[in-house]
């Protein structure tokens, strides 16, 4: 299919990377070929959730034929972190979670490395372990990080040394006490959810090579090669120019590949065997145990409204179980703090959003970054409050949902959105006002709604850069640092460049793999920020290149640059109707008359984008002029059935609508909506399970179950609305995370509609539902 018009924006062009992926040509990091000097690494992991390390004896492992090195944290006091630098590469004085790396073995085969791991002897002294964030937040809880006070920390994070609290974000706005006193109805509740996992189908894998010159190359399945480079370079005290990160095709990230998990281990192991690449690949079981997870959350929420149902007051505490190291988690707690109310206009708010150390896997960025966690409780408590007032949940949300220019919880004005339009669309699609008959006599049916908001949670200065570069035949290379993780980032980049430059879309290639040596800088591929931020950079780069071209042609034709355009790869003058194909001219330039000299030359466009307007927030009140760059909002409605004989849920229909600002590629948005709805639905059933010794007892697909072909809703109705923001490309902003944020509470609300039972704790299961139904039946009969 040849798309030769500009006006690609808003067109559902095919993915730029699809051919590689359906032919098996796409190169993921484990597919990269190395020579016979490749070595294999395995990690020695702690069997205990919390213990002092008394002794590590690696001598037997080192003596095993084929073992080239065994590395520990003994001489490696470096710590890693983004916002709070608290994580060692290898644990050296204590372990803080089951599975934490204590040593790394490098051998000539994975097989030998596996045997060598068994030979590393570690002596531990057990310490009391703590798993629950509320318990861990108490003043008398055993300390997981006694040295918390000595860690470097970003200036917008406020840990409390002497406790397990790594961040306490506060909102103190208005007067909640007085407001509650005047409320007509108040609803209060505690909501809980366990840690869950990203479960990318490609496990974390990295290969590191440390040359004798000191140059290090790291191949990794990474969403953010620049952040990976930055963290490891800083942690190891080496120059950014000495560490090169190459990030090939990523087999799913969902936030789990956003930072550094085990890649620093690979680098350190490679440094021990100079000149030979070391591959470190996690098994599926290690993926379940040894990578970061979504944080657990206990939320205590109290909310009140006046006689009209208008929200007046909210008081809440969020206890995020940040895990053993909170280097990402602190920002999640912060983001949950400044968006703590959910997408509602609430004038009086008292909130504490805490990130708390627990002896559980590292809590970190996972699709939604705190929003799914808090919306689980928020959207249910709103339903409860609506019920107290005798209001329909949809009516309640129309009344209270946030609108453009409202002052929101952090004191900023709400950026352009239209949440009401999203609610309109989902309620129509799900036929909200129609009470549907169950599909069988042993079933009960119900509908539920949930709305959401999310802002990209970033430091104030996250930048994007892009370069566009023509080949001699006028095909175009687009160079970015933002990663394709399935969401369509490369396609959008190619589309934007093609549109601005007036070249055919299929003539545009995004240069891959991402490589910090050659790719322009991108802060991270997280926060649903690429379409907006990287998109702006690509647009600017394309405009820069366009200007270079038109300037040369205008000069050659002695015309005004305003009278020229590029269409289908040809420069055209509106005035003279002259044409100049881009072919060759974009590298070789244009000759003067009679070839007396030349104009132009190789066209290379560059662009960048960085927001400049995000401000600080007061550490005591959480108030500030501009907490975030923008919000994206959306609504989901669920129609489901419960099988009364087994407690099994079946989702019949999900309607899911988001305000994306501008749909650059509508079908890509649909694919995010569909995938997100299933991911969100799956998240209602998923849970990491631990025994009393802090050991993960479901580290496999058998017992950590994700949605399969057989579990999907019968219908997903996806749609979007477009309320542009003023600094997105054509007004666009991202939606990749938002699409799964509120599915779990929408399901919970629908479940309440169907059977009259509220579930405040995740995960849901047929077991839980059935037993709750029996209990309800019993109490009704009594």
């Amino acid at each position: 299919m040849t798309l030769t018009e500009s006006g690609l924006i808003g067109k559902s062009v095919p993915r730029t990377d699809v051919m590689d992926k359906i032919t098996g040509c796409a190169v993921f990091v484990d597919d990269v070929q190395f020579g016979p000097n490749l070595l294999h690494g395995r990690l020695v992991r702690s069997p205990y959730p919390h213990a002092l390390i008394k002794k590590i004896d690696t001598s037997k492992a080192e003596a095993l034929p084929g073992v080239k090195a065994v590395v520990t944290g003994k001489d490696l006091t470096a710590r890693l972190g983004l916002y709070l630098i608290d994580r060692p590469i290898f644990a050296y004085d204590r372990v803080r979670v089951y599975g934490e790396p204590v040593a790394g073995v490098v051998a000539t085969s994975e097989h030998i490395a596996v045997e060598a791991v068994k030979l590393v002897e570690v002596e531990y002294e057990l310490l009391p372990a703590i798993y629950d964030p509320v318990e861990s937040a108490q003043p008398d809880a055993p300390l997981i990080h006694p040295d918390l006070g000595s860690y470097s920390v970003a200036n917008f994070i406020f840990p409390e040394p002497g406790t397990n609290i790594s961040e306490n974000f506060k909102i103190r706005k208005g007067d909640v006490e007085a407001a509650f006193a005047d409320c007509t109805a108040v609803a209060e509740g505690r909501f809980r959810l366990p840690p869950i996992e990203h479960v990318p189908i490609e496990t974390h894998t990295s290969i590191a090579l440390s040359e004798r010159t000191g140059q290090i190359t790291l191949w990794a399945s990474s969403q953010s090669p620049f952040a990976m480079r930055d963290m490891i370079a800083q942690g190891l005290g080496i120059s950014h120019s000495k560490l090169r990160v190459i990030a090939p095709v990523v087999g799913g990230g969902f936030g789990g590949k956003a930072g550094v998990t085990m890649e620093a281990c690979a680098v350190v192991m490679a440094q021990a065997v100079e000149g030979r690449p070391v591959k470190l690949r996690l098994t599926r079981e290690e993926e379940f145990v040894g990578t970061s997870t979504r944080q657990s959350l206990v939320s205590d929420i109290k909310v009140g409204c006046d006689k009209d149902g208008t929200l007046q007051a909210m008081e809440l505490t969020y206890y995020f179980g940040g895990g053993a190291y909170n280097d990402y988690g602190v920002n999640i707690a912060r983001a949950a703090g400044y968006s703590c109310t959910g997408p509602y206009d609430v004038p009086n708010v008292k909130a504490d959003s805490l990130c708390v150390y627990t002896n559980t896997p590292v809590g970190s960025a996972m699709r939604g970054f705190g929003m799914p966690e808090i919306h689980w409780g928020l959207e249910q408590i709103m339903d409860r409050l609506a019920e107290e007032m005798g209001m329909d949940p949809v009516e309640f949300r129309y009344l209270n949902c946030v609108r453009t220019d409202d002052e929101i919880v952090s004191g900023m004005k709400m950026t352009p959105i239209d949440l009401e339009a999203c609610i309109d669309k989902v309620t129509k699609a799900i036929k909200w006002d129609k009470k549907e008959e169950p599909t069988a006599p042993n079933k009960k049916r119900g509908k539920g709604i949930a709305i959401m908001w999310k802002a990209p949670a970033m430091p104030p200065n996250p930048g994007s850069a892009a370069v566009v570069r023509f080949n001699e035949d006028a095909t175009l290379q687009v160079e970015v640092g933002g990663q394709e993780i399935g969401q369509g980032a490369f396609t959008v980049a190619a589309q934007i460049a093609a549109d601005v430059l007036g070249v055919p879309y299929e003539n545009v290639t995004v240069s891959t793999p991402l490589d910090t040596k050659y790719s322009p800088y991108e802060w991270q591929t997280v926060a649903s920020r690429l379409t907006w931020s990287m998109g702006n950079a690509v647009k600017a780069a394309a405009e820069d290149a366009r200007f270079q071209i038109l300037e040369t042609v205008a000069d050659a034709w002695d015309e005004d640059i305003e009278d020229l355009t590029i269409k289908d790869g040809i420069v055209i003058s509106f005035k003279s109707e002259r044409e100049q194909p881009l072919d060759k001219m974009v590298v070789y330039g244009m000759p003067n008359d009679d070839f007396e000299g030349w104009k132009g030359g190789p066209v290379v466009g560059r662009g960048r984008f960085m927001p400049t307007y995000v401000t600080n927030l007061d550490p005591e009140t959480g108030q500030g002029t501009r907490a975030v760059v923008h919000y994206t909002v959306g609504a989901q409605a669920v129609d489901l059935e419960v099988d009364l004989e087994t407690g099994q849920l079946e989702v019949l229909n999900i309607a899911s609508v988001y305000d994306v600002g501008r749909a650059i590629n509508p079908d890509l948005i649909m694919t995010q909506i569909e995938g997100g709805a299933v991911h969100g639905m799956s998240s209602a059933y998923e849970a990491m399970k631990f025994n009393e010794d802090g050991v993960v007892i479901n580290p496999s697909f058998v017992d950590y179950r994700i949605s399969t072909f057989a579990d999907i809703p019968r219908k997903i109705h996806g749609d979007y609305v477009e309320t542009p923001i003023d600094d997105g490309p054509w007004g666009a902003r991202g939606v990749g995370e938002h699409v799964m944020v509120q599915t779990a509470p929408a399901i919970a609300n629908a479940l309440y509609d169907a059977v009259g039972i509220r579930f405040s704790d995740l995960p849901l299961s047929a077991d839980k539902i059935y037993m709750a139904l029996e209990e309800k039946d019993k109490t009704q009969k009594d």
Binding site: R42, R45, P47, G99, E110, H111, V114, K118, R281, T283, R284, E285, E286, V289, E645, T646, G647, Q648, Y685, K689, I697, N698, P699, S700, V702, D703, R705, T708, F709, A710, D711, S765, A766, D767, Y770, M771, E774
Partner: protein, 295 residues
């Protein structure tokens, strides 16, 4: 601690004759295991990080992959018949449909191209889907050693979770099922955490056929998995059903009796009380379904 990548070292040997098998089993003892589909064995070897030094592949020996049926002698299934071969075989579909239904719920299609009936039965998992189906068809296992063949009923063969009555020098050759009585109907109902592809939280196989000698006029057979150390029949319930004119209440009472007999353990997959209730609900549903079909 965690499962290892890849498989531990072992030597693969393809058995040439049955004598070959007996000799090697005798010679290597515990250091040798028989290799069928490998779908359970390899996962276990990864989990444990170790395994036997020798894997002896017996799948190619005479009869191991054969299915034969005649109405007089019944069904003979070689131990190495894959679950997909089983569930698509016309004679099984016609006369032993519950075996087919159960086989089709095991794992996923790719696994069923590798997993064998014999391997499944020898793995003796309390939650195996094939077990209740095999029980209601009165399956018998034929095991062989250098001293010859012997026959065991399934409840003799399974002696505990993961444990069979196989002696050190014996292996499972084939599984036999007598032809079911005329007009028998049956079903396998499985409750998993996912709609398809999961282990059974509770699995119930029900067979029913007319028997005019009984007060009920129908004989029921019920097989249940996952709620006891091995899969089991419930003879007291089957007896109860045979002695009373069939009605909805009788079927429900029978289901409750089955529930009371079940002895599930609580684990991360399900609470014990839920498993018990599901035994009741699935048995009831299965009984009703076959009763409807017989009417």
């Amino acid at each position: 601690m965690l499962a290892r990548p890849g498989l531990p070292d072992f030597e693969y040997i393809k058995a040439e004759t049955f004598q070959d098998v007996f000799d090697r089993m005798k010679e290597k003892g515990d250091d040798l295991k028989l290799l069928m589909g490998g779908t359970d064995l390899f996962v276990q070897m990864r989990d444990r990080g170790e395994g036997p030094s020798f894997l002896l592949d017996v799948k190619g020996l005479p009869g191991m992959q054969e299915i034969s049926f005649d109405k007089k002698n019944g069904l003979i299934v070689g131990a190495a018949v894959t679950l997909n071969s089983l569930s698509s075989h016309p004679n099984l579909v016609k006369y032993f449909n519950v075996l087919c239904e159960a086989a089709d719920t095991v794992g996923n299609y790719q696994l069923r191209n590798l997993a064998t009936l014999g391997g499944n039965i020898c793995n003796a998992s309390p939650s195996a889907d094939m077990s209740p189906a095999a029980l209601i068809y009165d399956g018998k296992v034929i095991v062989e050693s250098s001293s010859g063949e012997r026959e065991l009923s399934l409840d003799q063969f399974w002696i505990g979770p993961g444990k069979t009555a196989l002696k050190n020098d014996e292996f499972l050759k084939r599984i036999q099922f007598p032809t079911p009585p005329e007009k028998a109907v049956g079903c396998y109902l499985k409750l998993g955490r996912s709609k398809m592809g999961d282990l059974a939280i509770v699995g119930v196989a029900v067979l029913a056929f007319p028997d005019s000698t009984l007060p009920a006029g129908i004989q029921f057979r019920i097989g249940i998995n996952s709620t006891a150390p091995i899969a089991y029949r419930v003879p007291s319930v089957e007896e109860f059903l045979s002695q009373n004119p069939i009605s909805d209440e009788i079927l429900y009472k029978a289901a409750e009796m089955a529930m009371d007999i079940s002895a599930p353990i609580e684990d991360q997959r399900a609470t014990a009380i839920y498993q018990k209730k599901m035994v009741r609900n699935l048995v009831y549903k299965g009984l009703k379904e076959v009763w409807e079909r017989l009417k």
